[in-house]
Symmetry: C2
Subunit: 491 residues, 2 copies
Amino acid sequence: MAKELTSRSENYSQWYNDLVIKADLAEASAVRGCMVIKPYGYAIWEKIQGQLDRMFKETGHVNAYFPLFIPKSFFSKEAEHVEGFAKECAVVTHYRLRNDDQGKGLVVDENAKLEEELIIRPTSETIIWNTYKNWIQSYRDLPILINQWANVVRWEMRTRLFLRTTEFLWQEGHTAHATREEALEETLKMLQVYATFAEEYMALPVIKGVKTESEKFAGAIDTYTIETLMQDGKALQGGTSHFLGQNFARAFDVKFLNREGQLDLVWATSWGVTTRLIGALIMAHSDDNGLILPPKLAPIHVVIVPIHKNEEQLSQISAKAEVLKKELESKGLSVKYDGRDTHKPGWKFAEYELKGVPVRLAIGPRDLENNTVEVARRDTLEKMIVPADTVGTYIPELLANIQENIFRRASGFREKNTHRVNTWDEFREVAEVKGGFAYAHWDGTSETEAKIKEETKATIRCIPLDNEPEEGKCIYSGKPSKQRVLFAVAY
Amino acid sequence: MAKELTSRSENYSQWYNDLVIKADLAEASAVRGCMVIKPYGYAIWEKIQGQLDRMFKETGHVNAYFPLFIPKSFFSKEAEHVEGFAKECAVVTHYRLRNDDQGKGLVVDENAKLEEELIIRPTSETIIWNTYKNWIQSYRDLPILINQWANVVRWEMRTRLFLRTTEFLWQEGHTAHATREEALEETLKMLQVYATFAEEYMALPVIKGVKTESEKFAGAIDTYTIETLMQDGKALQGGTSHFLGQNFARAFDVKFLNREGQLDLVWATSWGVTTRLIGALIMAHSDDNGLILPPKLAPIHVVIVPIHKNEEQLSQISAKAEVLKKELESKGLSVKYDGRDTHKPGWKFAEYELKGVPVRLAIGPRDLENNTVEVARRDTLEKMIVPADTVGTYIPELLANIQENIFRRASGFREKNTHRVNTWDEFREVAEVKGGFAYAHWDGTSETEAKIKEETKATIRCIPLDNEPEEGKCIYSGKPSKQRVLFAVAY
């Protein structure tokens, strides 16, 4: 196989980079920290987008589009928000280039300096709440349930394809409500949408929880999160849903006449997931042969490869393949027939394993004779000989089975790598050697949280929503604690 | 009606602005020249996107995503390209803000100045061809047929909602080919995709043609265009498809080994349409009561309004409406039932006329008795009483009929406003008084073209592809001409 990957055990991080490049998902661009999402990677994003968009619309949301640029002054209005984002902002200062008189080529035209600098949106709360101000007068104008699909920019110093890039694609929901209860309900509803999407589509089990003060979104009252575990034992935050309280309404003076006829500040939420999900998808399921994609998000469900010795065989097999292709397509599946004679079957097998196509059908001369096909499933690499006439029912069932199996495997992995730890030594062993999730007691202070992070790199991923109260002692300070929280070293 | 529009005859330009605002399509944002696309306007864009995306994929294209930022140096590589775009570029010069020591608030951090400025993409040829360089070695790597859905920024001085905004949404196709013929074929194929989309979905007749030297895209060999006519007699360019020759391959040194084993420069095309299409849609069809949307692009096909005197009637009508709604939805239609008792039927009628919903059903007590509904079509404002049991077949036919009627009406309008002019006086009358398209002889020089523009504001929209050769004399210079070209004052 020409495109061999580094193995996970040898170097997990290198395996990931190799895989992203060799499976043609994305590559670094000429612009520092920005990636090019290649067609195969973008096709996965389209699948993610399509499904999430349906789920957003089913829960009553509509899409809209707000400007890329945010005036600098907007940024300063919410104190914590600006604190959180000011240090990683791309700033537009000029609106024209000109040819230099002294032959230095193209230079910024100093006569075209903006009076007020514009920030490329790192997130859109400020520009959106400045807009909502004009849309909301009375409780009759509420709720506003808007989502935006967009690009955003955060000037990251260390970037990695999909996981952390300067520009990335995402969706950001921004909702406005008349009451605290309603906003809180929305925050949790969208957290559940993300959890359902992660588990049912990405085949990725999640832990739902709330972030600590130091890990929450800049400007939020509370940040809710879905936390996932990757194969190297590190955690990855899959999506967040923020209860913003009245913070942005206060900053942008967005008041409404409530049912009691009194002026009140509007309640807000925001929630988002990004192209980072593709990174999670790769790292959670794939193996040393390449990608393993859950069928529900795979751009191609089935690839058909002919195995032939001569032209005549190829033309017979092609005819058969076309019939099967049509039949599977009529069931809503995406099917590719790779009849190229420039590449050998073995090369093609490796290629589609690398690309994570869930099911491969191979048809050779003996299959024609016996009216069979060879079916290979990507998740387990198992092969079966199946009567050709049953393919139309067999494959959809197999795909459902693969989807389920991938989820079960990821769940089993997470279970095996989730530890209840009671001492500092145990904790360090998980953080520094074993990897995985650690449920541990914590004294509830940001100081302790910071020290634990400093010493072990582990952070509190969340305080799980389904936590049972439990008396205990903080693994670091020994102070009393009322519940365990979820720690891990995270991406 | 609370939301009265300025009439078209009174002030067409004001009518357009009123309509965009009052139909809730878009509004100006706090950022100069940038708009907020509101949910109803964005829903039209989603319809446009959805259909075009299907057509692009049917013609073999795939989507991908390239960076928002373009290094300044890339820009200088194609001489005409930089000339065309340098004067309207948003430039990122810094990547951090900080709090000022002297209490001036948030300021640009001068320690975070970029070594090389980044341009916000006004179009992506340069960053894409710099990327293609690494993707193309041999003819086997060709063609590359990629499209991108993205936002772009061109620093316009005079902006108008949808028609011309600093940031806008678009798609940009960028293809790479082994031969001139193939690239030219692609250019024309995509022009035809745009023409088909405009005529069959937007109900907008187009003239296909090629731009003159002075009107073509900066960096293209030839720019092909679809030109449409608005109700005020001004032309609007609906989409362009560029044959780029080897210009960008030369600028970015993109060579490939051809079938003959020789190194050759790659051939290129690019093609795009933007959110401007929404402006065209509005201006081509709508009337003094509001929007008229072609059913194929309408976010809501049918609205059902109950007419009732009391609660009991309302509940009976609602039950009936729900049955009709389900039936129509089962035919793939988007149906809204507006049972709000906060607004009177008359108010609702005006509201949905304003928003261009193609069909309105009203159900009153008498309709319940007779098992009928009142059907109103938005395009002609005609009303009919229809047996409720036939709605499931009647409405889909009516929608097809409306789609056809709108196209026929726009075609009739264009025909009436297309003039073959032979003298300068006749030409001026069309350009300055009558409006519309003028087919006129032109001597083929950029000088004459510029002078005509200076004196009348009319420009050559295109040299139509279906032009018949015809001997004549230039309406301006009197010099000999071999064909008529299409003139108009344009948006």
